[in-house]
């Protein structure tokens, strides 16, 4: 039986963010990248206190402001308007990246173009001749933050796998990714390569394997059926 004609198989963007949020412990200092990663903040489970860092100089970033309360001098790394929570602090760029490079930030959640089975990340350049190269803080984050989570669609828009034996695009960092949250599965990067530790509802291990450019291991956690799926 083929499942490929089902249009909504797997987690949607909100559910991907929600699944990653489950793995952010109480008390964490977290940096969220642009796109699906920034949605993670909406889904941190009740009762957990998490402090968000944005590398342009704010610890204690809150949600987007109400319409009419936008301050163009209070923005996040994606240059979108944000707010501050009580207990927030501002600092200059060298201090901000000291928090990153000095391994004071616990978790960073980033997007990806490609991830290799060794945890290499490519997310800044496709190396096309007329592209304008732009790196921002991605290389600093993967070099300095203790735990790196990636949130990404499992495949490209044209159906090519993004999880590979090795990256063809220029690297952001080598052996830096700990865990990958895709629309199909949660995948841990281990010394033995990719290990599937959770599957989206209705998605089989083989379905994920067929869409992955590297051999997958089946994680032991998947035997615990009761706690497998989240609902949002």
């Amino acid at each position: 039986m083929s499942l490929t004609n089902k249009p909504y198989l797997g987690w949607n963007r909100n559910e991907m963010a929600g699944r990653a949020a489950l793995d952010i412990p109480d008390g964490s200092y977290v940096n969220l990248g642009i796109g699906i990663p920034e949605m993670v903040a909406r889904y941190v489970p009740e009762g957990r206190e998490v402090i968000y860092h944005t590398e342009n100089g704010l610890l204690g970033m809150g949600p987007a402001p109400a319409v009419g309360e936008v301050d163009p001098e209070l923005i996040n790394a994606g240059k979108k308007a944000v707010t501050v929570i009580p207990g927030a602090s501002f600092f200059h760029h060298a201090d901000s990246f000291a928090m990153i490079r000095g391994q004071h930030i616990d978790i960073c959640v980033l997007g990806a173009m490609q991830v290799s089975e060794q945890g290499d990340l490519a997310n800044w350049s496709t190396d096309e001749p007329d592209a304008i190269p732009a790196v921002g803080g991605a290389m600093d984050l993967v070099a300095g933050v203790k735990i790196i989570y990636v949130i990404t669609q499992h495949c490209t828009k044209t159906g090519e796998p993004k999880l590979l034996k090795s990256c063809s695009y220029p690297l952001t960092g080598k052996a830096v990714v700990n865990r990958i949250y895709t629309d199909l599965a949660v995948i841990e990067v281990t010394p033995d390569g990719f290990e599937v530790v959770d599957l989206a509802p209705g998605v089989s291990f083989n379905y994920v394997q067929e869409r992955t450019g590297s051999k997958l291991q089946l994680g032991l956690q998947l035997t615990d059926v009761k706690n497998r799926h989240i609902r949002l």
Partner: protein, 238 residues
Amino acid sequence: MIDKRIDSLSAAVADIFDGATVMIGGFGEAGSPIELIHALIDQGATNLTVVNNNTGSGHVGLSALIENGQVSKMICSYPRTVGSKVFPKLYRSGQIELELVPQGTLAERIRAGGAGIPAFYTATSVNTPLAVGKEQRNFAGRDHVMEYGLKADFALIKCKCADRYGNLTYNKTARNFAPIMAMAASTTVVQTSTLVDVGAIDPEVVITPGIFIDRIITIPEPAQESMLVAAGRSYPCR
């Protein structure tokens, strides 16, 4: 008597020379000293190397300085911001040079430059194209690349409050690169929204001590780049 106040924008930037390296504060529009940049456009210095995280947006501020043909090289981390049209066009036609630096390395190079540290090692960019050609050294089992401290002839920055000594406080995330650029430049010019008497800023809350500041110009209601862009404005006005 120490009084760093300057009466006019033109006097504040008058001695910026052709070929100078100019650090310009701001992360996107937050902290961009737009009136000082426009004064530099009026002043006309060319062949500038500009250090900024981005390359501006629309046809005002930093983007207008580039569009006016005054910048031969950008040192930045992210020249591809939404609304950035001018830089990509010049870059693709080979009319402007780009030195791409990871954002944290850029910040630390500026800090080091201002702190008298000629070079340092960082693990950022190891095993990437941005490490190619750089000296590498292993510390505690981990590879690092050597990066040079970065200095400038001038820094143009924006703050919220200043006294005539040049003690400064900033506004929210508009602080970003300004305090370290103030340290790294031979001559630092600040535009402030408010000027207060010496002693009015609590020493406990001074962010940039006055020793790093050379010239102060008061611009009570600075323009915001996004509002100028939304209004379709360009500089010089056409």
